[in-house]
């Protein structure tokens, strides 16, 4: 049976993980390669590396990092942050990334999704959507959720699928950082409307939140950052819990 995926997200700045981590057995808490390998060992189903710096110098650092991760990690991983052209994607895939995630650049120029899907195949193109509930409507935001756009989230999710996105990474700015649970209602609407997988993000605080997002939210994957980095939730414990509750999980 196809299993639900648990995906730790690592924020990268200048080639290092930021926000810190709580791994006692890490020699260097900032090393994304080592952290990624530990997560893979613990049973993470995929990894997402989000580059939060996007200058030219840092792109080179990022490419070196991707190469290094690909050498050491034997599960699929996605790279996101500041990707806006075929050249960017080509460089990352050639360095060994399995998928890329685009966000603001797709909002700015939606045709980019079509071009990337045509050049590289839908399977490696994730469109990230940051959404916030504003005056009764779900609105797409960019710039880390700070800047509202004209786009309605549900319609945009359908459009990115039609243009060839292979997966959607849906982050609710309303729940992100709250640790009060994922945006299950919106996630379930978008999941029911699409034939591509939905990765839910934002709001994970307990193991039950993952159960809820897979059942009520109908998500195909759940993504989280700090709860894994600070060991508030252990990946093996989480996956064992979900399996015992009857969720299809790889253990």
């Amino acid at each position: 049976m196809l299993t639900k995926r648990i995906i730790p997200c690592l924020d990268i700045k200048d080639g290092r993980t930021v926000k810190g981590t709580n791994f006692v057995n890490l020699r260097d808490a900032g090393d994304p390669v080592e952290l990624g390998a530990i997560y893979a060992e613990q049973g993470a189903d995929e990894l997402v590396f989000l580059d939060i710096t996007a200058t030219v110098d840092n792109r080179k650092t990022l490419i070196d990092l991707v190469r290094n991760v690909a050498r050491h990690v034997n599960i699929p991983f996605t790279v996101g942050g500041g990707i806006s052209s075929i050249e960017d994607v080509s460089a990352l895939l050639n360095a060994g990334a399995d998928k890329v995630s685009i966000n603001s650049s797709a909002v700015r120029r939606p045709e980019l999704i079509d071009e990337l899907a045509l050049n590289f195949g839908s399977q490696c193109i994730i469109v990230a959507i940051d959404t916030r509930f504003v005056e009764g409507e779900h609105i797409v935001h960019t710039h880390g959720g700070r800047k509202p756009t004209e786009l309605r989230t549900i319609a945009w999710a359908k459009e990115v699928e039609d243009r060839g996105a292979g997966e959607i990474l849906l982050t609710s700015m309303d729940t992100d950082g709250t640790k009060a649970g994922f945006a299950n209602e919106l996630t379930s609407i978008i999941s029911a409307n699409s034939s591509i997988p939905i990765i839910a993000s934002g709001g994970a605080g307990t193991m039950e939140h993952f159960y809820d997002v897979f059942t009520e939210g109908k998500a195909d994957a759940g993504l989280a950052a700090s709860i894994f980095h600070f060991k508030e939730i252990d990946i093996i414990d989480l996956k064992t819990y979900l399996k015992e509750k009857g969720v299809a999980i790889r253990l």
């Binding site: 639900k4 995926r5 690909a70 034997n74 195949g121 591509i196």
Partner: protein, 194 residues
Amino acid sequence: MKTVIIKYNAGNVQSVMYALDRIGVNYLWTDDETEIRSADRVIFPGVGEASTAMSYLREKGLDKVIPSLTQPVLGTCVGMQLMCRHSEENDTTCMGIFDIDVKRFQSSEYKVPHVGWNNIYNFKNGLTEGLNENSFMYFVHSYYAELSPYTVATCDYVQPFSAMLQKDNFYAAQFHTEISGKEGQRIIENFLKV
């Protein structure tokens, strides 16, 4: 031992190369017939669309070279599909090493593509030696090879389909061995030992 990865217009062979690096195997990435024929092991990877891949193989004459190889050959993902007779993806005539067809998943209930980790079972050859039945592998595909006498591992999505095929020296896996954790790596290692 000489291992060759067949070079064609399939995307992202880098993870296959890194997987071989992790095992500690040297390889050559080439479309040269002499190099391919003289290899001890041939890996035929694949990410992409079937008809584009087949026209490239025809252009290079590789559509004749690959089926005539006598050493162990391992095709993965689209590589496996191209080793079948025909693919519904843009109505493509493939190499016909396995005389079975590749069809598109049809379902209103299941999402297509099939993306993520799924269990494989009913093992019938040496490539899965050391693996537990129902080991999980990473899949990304919209088309599948039907069950057949060549099926040596099965997976269920919409319906049971061929996760792995074998006929004589030709081996194939629908999933991505190179990013399927330790279990995927074990399959590559087993292939290098057959």
